[in-house]
C-alpha cells in the first residue's frame, strides 16, 4: 500500500519535475517579456537595459530603476514603483523619466482595483493616465485636484487616482534623490 502510494507520487513528481524544467525557461521568458514590454512603453526605443535598486526616501521597499540605453546613450529611466494606498491593496506601476526629470509616460503593472472603477488607471481602459505624459513633477503637483493638485481624479474612484499619484510621486522622489541629485552634482547624466 505504502509502496504503491510512493510509486504514484514518485511518478507524478517525476512528470511534474520534467514539465517544470520544460516550462521554467518559457516562464522566465514570459516574465522578462512582460517587464521589457512595460519598460518599452514608458521610455523610447533602447537596446540595452541596466537595473539597479534604490530605496525611496520615505522608506519602504526599494524601487527597481531600469536605465535604458540606445547606442550607449541613456535615453530614459523606467522606474518600477508602488503604492499601498490603493482601494484594494498594492498598485505597481512603471514610470518613465527623461534624464531631466520630466515624465515620459506611466503604465500600470499590477493592481486589484475594482473593475469598472479603479481599473481606469489601465491604459487600455481609459486615457486617464495620459495626463502624466510629459509633465515635470517640479512644476506640476502630482496630486488630485481635490487635494489641491493638478491631476484630474477618476470619477467615483478618487482613492485609486490618489494612490496612483502617490506611486508616481514616490518614483519621482526616489529618482530625484538618487539620480537627479547625482546628475546635478556631476554636471552630467549619471552612469
Amino acid at each position: 500500500m505504502v509502496l504503491s502510494l510512493f510509486l504514484v507520487t514518485a511518478v507524478a513528481s517525476f512528470t511534474l519535475a520534467t514539465i517544470y524544467n520544460l516550462t521554467a525557461e518559457p516562464i522566465a521568458q514570459a516574465r522578462e517579456a512582460k517587464r521589457q514590454f512595460a519598460i518599452s512603453q514608458v521610455v523610447p526605443e533602447f537596446d540595452r537595459l541596466e537595473s539597479r535598486n534604490f530605496l525611496p526616501p520615505d522608506g519602504g521597499d526599494s524601487l527597481e530603476f531600469n536605465f535604458a540605453y540606445k547606442n550607449n546613450e541613456l535615453v530614459g529611466i523606467a522606474v518600477n514603483t508602488w503604492t499601498n494606498r490603493g482601494y484594494s491593496g498594492r498598485i505597481t506601476a512603471m514610470v518613465g523619466f527623461n534624464t531631466d526629470g520630466t515624465i515620459i509616460d506611466v503604465v500600470h503593472l499590477q493592481h486589484a482595483e475594482t473593475p469598472g472603477l479603479g481599473d481606469k488607471i489601465e491604459k487600455g481602459k481609459s486615457d486617464w493616465s495620459d495626463q502624466f505624459r510629459g509633465i515635470d513633477p517640479e512644476t506640476t503637483a502630482i496630486r488630485v485636484k481635490k487635494d489641491n493638485g493638478d491631476i484630474d481624479a477618476i470619477t467615483a474612484a478618487t482613492i485609486t487616482a490618489r494612490a496612483y499619484c502617490d506611486a508616481v510621486q514616490r518614483a519621482y522622489d526616489t529618482f530625484a534623490s538618487h539620480v537627479l541629485s547625482q546628475t546635478k552634482q556631476d554636471g552630467g547624466p549619471a552612469l
Partner: protein
C-alpha cells in the same frame, strides 16, 4: 448512441454547474468576462480529461486503501501541468484566473468524476464522459462570463457592443453580480432541462 448521450448530457441535462451545482467557486470567481470563463473551462476540461483517463488506466493497480490519495496526486499533477504551461504560454490569462487555477484541484467536479466514472469505466467512456462534462462546464462558465460581461461592461469577448461606452452595470462585474447572474441562469437551465426532457 449511448456514448453520444454520455457526451451531451453535461451540456444541459446534467450540466455540472447549473444543474448539479458542482464547482461553483470557479464558476462564480473567474467569470468576470466570457473569455476568462472560457479559459477556466478549458483548463478544467484538460484536468478532467487527464485525470479521468489516467485513473481509468491505473484503477486496477491501485490498492483500495490509498485510492483517494492517489487520485488526489494524479489530479494535482494535472493541475500543476496546467498551471505551469499557462504561466509560460498564456501569462495574461494566468494572471486573470489567479488563485482559481491551483484550486481546480479541489473542484468537486474533477474529483467526483474521477471517482464516479473514471474508476469504474474503461478508457473510452471515461474520455467521453470527461469531455462531455468538461465542455458542459466550459459552456456554463462561458455563458455566465458572457452574461456578466454583457451587462457589466457592455462587451462580449472583449468586443464593445456600444462604441464608446465602457461602463456597464458594475455590479455584474463584482461579486453580487456573479451570484445573481448564476441564480437566473440556473432558472433558465432548469427550464431548458424540462423542455428537452
Amino acid at each position: 448512441m449511448k456514448q453520444w448521450r454520455n457526451f451531451t448530457k453535461g451540456f444541459i441535462k446534467d450540466n455540472p454547474v447549473f444543474i448539479l451545482l458542482l464547482g461553483l467557486c470557479p464558476a462564480l470567481g473567474v467569470t468576470t468576462s466570457a473569455f476568462n470563463g472560457f479559459g477556466m473551462g478549458l483548463a478544467t476540461t484538460f484536468v478532467l480529461l487527464g485525470s479521468n483517463t489516467v485513473v481509468s488506466i491505473i484503477k486496477n493497480v491501485i490498492p483500495n486503501k490509498v485510492r483517494i490519495p492517489s487520485f488526489i496526486v494524479i489530479i494535482a499533477s494535472f493541475v500543476t501541468i496546467v498551471q505551469l504551461t499557462m504561466e509560460a504560454y498564456m501569462p495574461e490569462l494566468f494572471d486573470a484566473l489567479g488563485l482559481f487555477i491551483p484550486l481546480i484541484v479541489v473542484n468537486c467536479l474533477v474529483m467526483g468524476r474521477a471517482e464516479a466514472f473514471g474508476s469504474k469505466n474503461n478508457i473510452g467512456s471515461s474520455i467521453v464522459d470527461a469531455m462531455g462534462m468538461g465542455l458542459g462546464f466550459t459552456l456554463a462558465l462561458t455563458m455566465l462570463g458572457g452574461v456578466r460581461e454583457i451587462l457589466g461592461a457592455y462587451s462580449i469577448f472583449g468586443i464593445q457592443l456600444i462604441p464608446g461606452v465602457t461602463d456597464g452595470m458594475l455590479v455584474f462585474v463584482l461579486a453580487p453580480g456573479a451570484f445573481i447572474g448564476m441564480g437566473y441562469l440556473i432558472i433558465l437551465f432548469n427550464y431548458l432541462k424540462k423542455k428537452t426532457a
